[in-house]
Symmetry: C2
Subunit: 306 residues, 2 copies
């Protein structure tokens, strides 16, 4: 019996999963990314968790097919090399795959986290019936993945899919990525939260509360979410006109906001994108709860087949 | 001996070419699109020209492999169906392929003009050494084509590639396509010309003159072209981050403006797009003079092989 370790290394949360042969999650552990002061201590704790999981389940490393890690930033997929993480310091130019492999003795594969969530969603989730599409995730960052004929389209340097860094204005605020007026700079979690806290003059406000308020028809909360949907719809209008995808699947924390957000995304795209490109387009909420962990495990299987 | 008819139906100019088996142009005729008052008279004159060319060369229709037509707007490639032309009236919902076939007795294929120019450029021009990339053309409209693994990527409804209709601002002027703040609405020929005529208070000014002025270091002309390059660079920043192409090939009339334009496109992308996505990216001027006509002929060959 073979196992796979799937790790979803997010800017907020790290999920470490042990999966069986049908990608079912046998064990899952969570860590908070912010709890660690630097790269090496973060890596060290993940490695310790991996060892603890295997020990508790009495699994030998030779029975682990591999470790897959989804990371929040652009990577050189072939070399297991991290260019940098826009929302976690200290990972610039890191051969992350090699480090994990050395520390665990298990073959390790890394890819952009959104590519892997999209991969899981396209295999087992909402994307199952579509050949070409776009997956995006709304969280600390706004990530994306591109699918062509059922496969991840990675682009020349494996960095395709950065929907969060499509500029939606000529002029605008500087983004962590070095760009300006990027979508993420307006609708990344922290920016939405900052705006909401200003509107409500409430420092303890969270996005979950803001989402609840909208569901209870609070007008100011609804306006904030509509603004998020509108900005997202504008970036997606560019994608619809440029890429004419079959579907757009939206995942990540903010997708839980629900109809107030989705109806504004749809309304904006319908009113601004070219009619022939919008025809038949599906805009769907992602389905899988642990897409990141499952996608990371899928990466191991895919890479082993090659 | 077999011949192919390649037609480049542009919003300004119509080029009709007779090509031989190596896609060499044997005869070429030009018409001005604006000279015809409606759809039917435009089609009629093109059909007359086709017949005149074949007659003058003593070619029987059975020796013509097919007619390929590149058109300036979104089409349903499979049905030979024109959705509409943003810059020519009267073509909404037209089965254009069928009409030509009936009137000439020759099998006719249609596709978006930029797809075909890109196809020609990717086979015989600047794109020859790249597998994935983006082609765009700067003219009356701003068109685009997407290449993945050496083939045209058409998208779900065959409308992919509409780079001219990527919004570059949240708010902005209405575009012919129904959208708002589209790239084309700022840098399409007519808009650049309108702006230049305002700056120079010269109604007879043309884009050719404006281009010459920039080459002679006229500061105001240079500023106008830099502004075009900057806006184009912002839309392309979105494409580079989303699609991570190997190359961007720029064709069409405005590409002749040369270095003042290209250096600003490159500068904008380098300063705004994500560094890992820009690495190794080539931004090149298209090479082929008759890409539209050659691409239309290639469309016939490709479709016949299938």
């Amino acid at each position: 019996m073979k196992f796979i370790l799937g790790i979803d290394l997010g800017a907020t949360l790290i999920k470490i999963g042990l999966l069986g042969k049908d990608y079912e999650i046998i064990e899952k552990r969570r860590l908070y990314t912010q709890d660690f002061k630097d790269r090496d201590s973060l890596i060290e704790v993940i490695v310790e968790e991996i060892k603890a999981i295997l020990q508790s389940k009495k699994i030998d490393t030779k029975d682990v097919l591999g470790i897959g890690i989804g990371v929040p930033g652009p990577v050189d997929f072939k070399r297991g090399f991290v260019y940098y993480f826009p929302n976690i310091r200290g990972f610039k130019d890191t051969l992350l795959g090699e480090i994990f492999q050395r520390k665990t003795g298990i073959k390790t594969y890394i890819d952009n986290d959104t590519n892997l969530m999209g991969l899981a969603e396209s295999r087992f989730g909402r994307g199952k019936n579509f050949k070409s599409g776009v997956y995006l995730t709304l969280g600390t960052g706004v990530g994306g993945a591109v699918f062509v004929e059922g496969r991840i389209y990675r682009g020349k340097n494996f960095t395709a899919g950065e929907i969060g860094h499509i500029p939606i204005n000529e002029k605008g605020p500087l983004c962590n990525c070095g760009g300006k007026a990027c979508l993420e700079r307006y609708i990344g979690n922290r920016y939405v939260l900052a705006k909401a806290r200003k509107v409500f003059k409430e420092r303890g406000l969270t996005l979950e509360i803001l989402s609840e308020m909208a569901k209870r028809k609070d007008k100011r909360a609804i306006l904030i979410w509509k603004e998020v949907g509108r900005k997202l719809g504008i970036a997606l209008t560019g994608i619809v006109n440029f890429f004419n995808p079959e579907c757009i699947i939206v995942g990540g924390g903010l997708s839980e906001v629900g109809e107030v957000l989705f109806s504004e995304i749809r309304r904006t795209i319908r009113s601004r994108a070219m009619a022939p490109s919008v025809k038949g387009l599906k805009i769907l909420k992602a389905k899988l709860k642990d897409a990141g962990v499952i996608g990371a495990a899928l990466l191991v299987s895919i890479s082993k087949i090659k």
